[in-house]
């Protein structure tokens, strides 16, 4: 349904755009109906940039993103509005997602102004009520309040409800629970997972492996703008192969396993020339720093489990593969 195809994003930095910075490099993945795809990365991995490109909040420098086969970069003018009726987003900071000087349900009001201008007020109120109930909130408790009168969890649910007012196919959820308290975040996470049954495709952007692991069917792991490992969630977590993935898995604090034990369980890194499977398969390719532009350097090590070449990367950024 949503297809991200070899997308890159370059930023011009410096006063007159003298330097160029790559935020996202050659990233491809799909989000299908009824599935949650986790986009996992640390700060600077480009995960939020990808989300914003999907939401057409920033332009794509290279490659394409398409929804049901149609390139979204080509959508302009009034088409943007109808695109947003299919693709919506929820962001990290619930308090920054609401204009603090207005009531929280203004987020619904904007949708009504732009998409349901002709609808009768009673019909609209019913629609809002239904959407609010579908995210397990009591309309009487949350409507007609200012954002600071509601909890972070309630605010994020309201944003999900806002998206549900439209006929959405894709929801981009960018770190939507990282600022919530532990006791409420799991419920918002469960809500996302429940949306799958409505036929939504969800891109779940997070830095937290355990959250991605909890709800997603597919996992994409990003490092410095490039995909290092991706595939079915149980395969990526069951058999983490890229050194970066392994480092992440061994660093994430767990509740019943100490860091040292996790490392012991992971075992020794895969042997070979720096452990890079691509180089084992194509020994000559990397030697001259060869980058094959027509052929993304991802190796399918088992069915639906891809690993990126990290030897080429480490040549570009020495010393960063810890």
């Amino acid at each position: 349904m949503l297809s991200v195809n070899r997308v890159s994003k370059f930023y011009r930095v410096g006063t007159f755009g003298g330097k160029e910075m790559t935020a996202v490099r050659d990233v491809s993945f799909d989000v299908d109906t009824g599935e949650v795809v986790s986009l996992i990365g640390e700060s600077g991995s480009g995960k939020t940039t990808i989300g914003k490109m999907i939401l057409k909040l920033i332009d794509i420098s290279q490659g394409s993103i398409s929804l049901d086969g149609a390139d979204i970069s080509a959508i302009r003018g009034s088409g943007i509005k109808s695109y947003y009726s299919h693709v919506q987003g929820v962001f990290q900071d619930p308090f920054s997602s609401y204009n603090p000087i207005f009531k929280a349900d203004r987020v619904f009001g904007l949708i009504r102004n732009e998409y349901f201008a002709g609808i009768a007020t009673s019909e609209w109120n019913d629609k809002v009520d239904a959407a609010v109930r579908s995210v397990a909130l009591d309309p009487g408790q949350v409507l007609n309040k200012y954002p600071h009168q509601l909890s972070g969890g309630q605010l994020q649910r309201l944003l999900v409800a806002r998206a549900l007012l439209l006929d959405i196919k894709i929801l981009v959820a960018d770190e939507i629970i990282s600022m919530l308290d532990a006791s409420t975040r799991i419920d918002v996470l469960n809500l996302l997972a429940d949306l799958k049954s409505r036929g939504l495709g969800i891109l779940f952007i997070t830095h937290d492996l355990s959250l991605g692991n909890y709800i997603s069917e597919k996992t994409v792991i990003l490092r410095r703008g490039s995909v290092v490992e991706m595939g079915a969630t149980e395969k990526v977590f069951g058999n983490p192969t890229h050194p970066y993935t392994r480092m992440l898995v061994s660093s994430v604090p767990q509740l019943h396993k100490k860091w040292a034990d996790v490392e012991a369980d992971l075992g020794a890194p895969i042997a070979g020339r720096g452990g890079c499977l691509f180089h084992e398969a194509f020994p000559l390719a990397g030697r001259a720093g060869l980058y094959l532009p027509d052929d993304p350097i991802m190796v399918e090590i088992e069915d639906d489990h891809f690993v990126g070449c990290f030897e080429l990367e480490s040549e570009k950024a020495p010393g960063l593969v810890a």
């Binding site: 640390e42 532990a182 419920d187 692991n213 709800i215 660093s251 604090p253 767990q254 509740l255 100490k258």
Partner: protein
């Protein structure tokens, strides 16, 4: 016993009245103990940490006493506390990234700070350099301005500065929350190594992330709505929690390996009470599935097992 806190109450002055952010805390920390302090935002954990080191303008000391290594700390007296700060108790603040003067070279700032406390910078410098090595920074950082360091580097530098005089107690306030997982682990392990090297005797690690505490803390203190809920060894808190809040909190945390499809976790319904006019009795009562009549009375924070303290009528037994 390194630190003993007894019935400490610190309120926030607001226009609407006093917010009872810390409403009676009694606990102690042993030598060599790393105590994790966890709870939801607004539960008073940062208030507790701040009140031990420095009350800011809006915080009001109400009651209670704090004893560190046998000395009573005058925490209501900003100037009186100065002689204890840095030498006996120190802090790695939440704002560690912006804690260093942006217009001073780090080495110069450190020197001026030490000299202002009557220490001899030249005598301490070799140790400073050793510790900079230990946390994996270049010695050259002393000649740099804070803005030349990355966030993680600044954090480590502040960790070194704060512990330079080998304080007895170190308070680390939410220092891992803004970091990436890989850096988070490094910082957390550095804290442990500080204790192991004897740079600090004991430590309070404040965080909302219980799984970090599982990795590094010896004991965990759980707070809820300005009150202490439970304190016990880390393994007891994670594996055999007694307070319903702790139990629900721990079981709501997803872990690598737990999947929605296999095991659907659930959170705690409801939200914490306002601390402006907190409810009487057990403050968790409204959200607690086990609540019963007795909970209208405030449960005492008592030791139900060796070093396992809890404030819940169900855990202490109704007839107790």
């Amino acid at each position: 016993m390194s630190l003993q806190v007894s019935d400490l109450r610190v309120y926030y002055r607001t226009l609407a009245g006093d917010v009872k952010a810390l409403d009676g805390a009694t606990f102690s920390i042993a030598d060599k103990e790393i105590m994790g302090l966890a709870g939801e935002s607004g539960c008073g954990k940062s208030t507790l940490g701040n009140s031990l080191i420095r009350l800011d303008g809006r915080m009001k000391y109400v009651a209670g006493s704090v004893t560190l290594d046998g000395n009573a700390l005058p925490i209501w007296d900003n100037t009186g506390m100065n002689e204890f700060r840095f030498r006996d108790l120190s802090v790695i603040p939440q704002y560690a990234m912006s804690a260093m003067n942006p217009t001073r070279k780090i080495g110069k700032m450190t020197g001026e700070l030490l000299e202002s406390r009557g220490e001899n910078f030249a005598a301490i410098k070799p140790e400073l350099l050793r510790r900079i090595d230990l946390v994996g920074l270049q010695r050259d950082v002393l000649n740099l301005y804070p803005m030349e360091l990355s966030g993680g580097m600044k954090q480590r530098m502040v960790m070194v500065i704060s512990t330079l005089l080998d304080p007895s107690l170190l308070i680390a306030d939410e220092i891992t929350s803004a970091l990436d997982v890989s850096t988070q682990r490094a910082v957390a392990e550095t804290l442990v190594s500080f204790r192991d090297h004897g740079f600090v005797k004991s430590m309070i690690v404040i965080t909302h992330d219980v799984s970090i505490l599982y990795q590094i803390a010896d004991t965990i203190l759980i707070m809820y709505a300005g009150k202490l809920a439970e304190k016990a060894s880390t393994s007891a808190i994670i594996n055999r929690p007694l307070h319903p809040y702790t139990r629900m909190l721990v079981s709501s945390l997803p872990e690598v390996g737990v999947r929605y499809a296999d095991k659907k976790l659930s959170g705690i319904p409801g939200s914490p009470p306002s601390l402006l006019k907190p409810p009487t009795g057990c403050r968790f009562r409204a959200r607690c599935p086990l609540a019963f009549d007795k909970c209208a009375e405030e449960p005492p924070f008592v030791e139900v097992d060796t070093d396992h303290w809890v404030a819940c009528w169900k855990a202490t037994g109704t007839d107790a």
